[in-house]
Assembly symmetry: C2
Homo-oligomer: 522 residues x 2
Amino acid sequence: MSKQVKTIENALGRPVPVEINGRPAIPFQGVGQYIPTGRKYGPRIRSCADYPSDGDKRVATIKDALIRCGIRDGMTISTHHHLRDGDTVANMVFQAIHELGVKNIVWYPSASFACHAGLIDRMKDGTIQRIEGSMNGPLGRFTSIGGMEGMAVLRSHGGRYQAVQDGEVVIDIAVISAPAADAFGNANGVRGPAACGLLGFALADSQYADHVVVVTDNLEPFPCIPWQIHGNYVDYVVEVPSIGDPAKIVSGTTQITKSPDRLLIAEWAVQFAMEAGLVRNGFSFQAGAGGTSLSFSIFLAELMRKNGIKARFVRGGSNQYMTAMLEEGLTDYILDGQTFDLEGVRSMRENPAHQNTSPFTSYNYHGKGNFASMVDIAILGATEVDVNFHANVVTHSDGLLLHGIGGWQNCLFGRCVILPIPLFRDRIPVIRDAVTTLCGPGELVDVIVTERGIAINPRRQDLFDALKNTTLPLRTIEELKTEAETICGGPPAAPKLGEEIVAAIKWVDGTVIDCVRRVILD
Amino acid sequence: MSKQVKTIENALGRPVPVEINGRPAIPFQGVGQYIPTGRKYGPRIRSCADYPSDGDKRVATIKDALIRCGIRDGMTISTHHHLRDGDTVANMVFQAIHELGVKNIVWYPSASFACHAGLIDRMKDGTIQRIEGSMNGPLGRFTSIGGMEGMAVLRSHGGRYQAVQDGEVVIDIAVISAPAADAFGNANGVRGPAACGLLGFALADSQYADHVVVVTDNLEPFPCIPWQIHGNYVDYVVEVPSIGDPAKIVSGTTQITKSPDRLLIAEWAVQFAMEAGLVRNGFSFQAGAGGTSLSFSIFLAELMRKNGIKARFVRGGSNQYMTAMLEEGLTDYILDGQTFDLEGVRSMRENPAHQNTSPFTSYNYHGKGNFASMVDIAILGATEVDVNFHANVVTHSDGLLLHGIGGWQNCLFGRCVILPIPLFRDRIPVIRDAVTTLCGPGELVDVIVTERGIAINPRRQDLFDALKNTTLPLRTIEELKTEAETICGGPPAAPKLGEEIVAAIKWVDGTVIDCVRRVILD
């Protein structure tokens, strides 16, 4: 095995592999420049004659289901990550595959977490050839140091839908963990011991996979409604005692930050949005689940309340603060991609204005538009930003691949993209000359808000104009970089990297925007 | 033009065309015998780069939208029939096409009504080459007498979804009338002056058509929720003053029958279902909107109330009697395909247990199962039934094609299919030696309930056993036929038919179950 594949320089000047796992890859060509010409993937036509007329698709075990699906070496198996770090189903699936002696599986999760660390053994023993999907923590680290047989492929939530829709990834067997399901395969995330709110990350899998297995610990009589996953796409249903650990699926409460620096960043970001004229009746925003983002939401809600401003919609990941905004009437709708706490799950279950979404509706770039570009304010994070506003979300400055892309690339299409980030973390500057891994082109990043000042992307003259009388500390990105380096005693040390490409980073249109090299640990 | 195409005898002994409009056709092979081998149709992959990032897809007129969709001779244009006899959009579409001078259009409505009678002129002038879809009334009559250039193709609701999914029909431009929509194209039927409840008949059109145009008289700010139609599939949105006449879209109230014979039929059908053990906690049923069916529902509800029985779900077409059952707690859910009155629309809008469905979820035979086979009692109509229990729903005994198939074929897969029908209509026997047009195989028809007796299909020994001590007047179907002929003075006169095939009748799997010949009027 060699991952020393040939590279070509893409439109951002990053060398990217010309082929990925033996298949040709298209280098990034610029935002909106690559226009696809093919047709969507056409799954096999099925007949009701081959399915039980009483709608009962249950089989005894996950292993049984995999056997009936024709599991064999080299297949692509998908899972979703709505159960987050509480998921136990992916481990059960690979335990069954391991017992069956099947090898060289491509695992296509929407994301993996620390709870999947045991699958490192399945990579070592050849059960899993590679992971195409986000890797948060241990699996990413293992990949970084060259432990994975194949090349990892990281995609955004929207890019994952796009890859399946376009037939770039053909899923042989999709395994869909379902907090509530019926024997026909209709499923949702709003009820049951493992309730996680919604199942949107598994939508593409259900629609396009050759075989679909629903695994549940909460079987209900037909019809299980809402049918976030349609049983009409499902082959088999398996009951298990538990699909996950509720405590790690959703948190009981969402914690806001207590760091004075982060609170200041959040406050400035809100003030910036207000002064830029973005906070007005009928506006929309998206903020993540991190401490700074949460504080942004809370400060913004206060501002809205004070000024009598109502949003048309708020994008989730939802949490108790968002659902409070909805119930208080500060927004007409929550358009939610995943629920981060129990209040989010309750609201999703009870409130029709708390709308579940999917990467299809929100993020798929190969559709006739998506919602991400209609969000007025997108609050996003980054591990690094460079002086061209290019940003990184997957690797740290030491080169280690420790995070997934999530919806981050997709949200860059928002009308004003604000990155509220600290100037440095653990005395390592966050703003630098060039990011370790380029996940998002600088032309889509509008504003950087740090505890030492705010940098507006020079492309956004309209924002400079709107802020011309501001009391906010506007700085150039170069000034911020210099300050960070002064405080930290210089730029981050260069990581020790090998030549081997361990992971490719896809852009939202399926082209390759960057890649990750093997890290040589001391 | 000649419609004297070669025929072949299918598995039911009916001669059917070997080709339809120049393309080879597969004769019916028996229920569940034809297993498809291909792949679902793959629409062209699109890019968000080609759609407005602010999500505003509005264009000024239907004609503008058609031009932008590249309208040209020979294209297939689809519409849906949720606005029923109140629809004005199909007429506007063909007025625009006529003005553009475009010819030979294949019109693919989910159904057409008397309000579309003006389109006979568009068939005469060559704008419309043929209609593939249900024709209720004048367009059917015009087709029957040989007025249509091409051969009509009639499909069930499920068959229509199947044909689009499988690529048998490729829709170039789908026009979707929407009682509520936003500028992105998200749409639903629950609000607005033309509220019709839901838009499920247009689901396949939205998913698979090359171009999709939403036409609305009620534009709402994004997001228009529920998004029964996803804007992510939509190319253009057109605002018009009115999409239809509310009085003809839904009736203010649904009328029950006052005919003593029909009330007796309904009462016997309910008694039969009860004695057959079909009415028990957790059961399900489907009944149509006709007078006898409505009475069946009302009598059944009384029985359930008296015996403390609760249904798990009731299938719509919904009406005020069904919504009352839901609100009274006599059923957990309504799974609704179309709303027939204003109460149905209100309930759909307000009650999450009133679930909108589509031909995909309910009827598509080329999926991994559908819901029709899980309905315990299906109450269906028929224009004719023969001694083999074969039934007809599209033509009258005079040969005229006056009705669509609707969901009728699909519902034949219910666990017990009961046809409550009068023994004769206008002194013409309904039960006869052979139906004029065979729409449903007798093996799927379980019980015929008439005002003179009840005939159980000999295949259903279990029903004979269950009813062995009944007071109901069980008869053989031959006895019923003889009685009808005795009363009416003989069997119906043979219609005067030409050789030309004016319409093909598809089975749920896309094979040809029968065809309709030209009627020679006196």
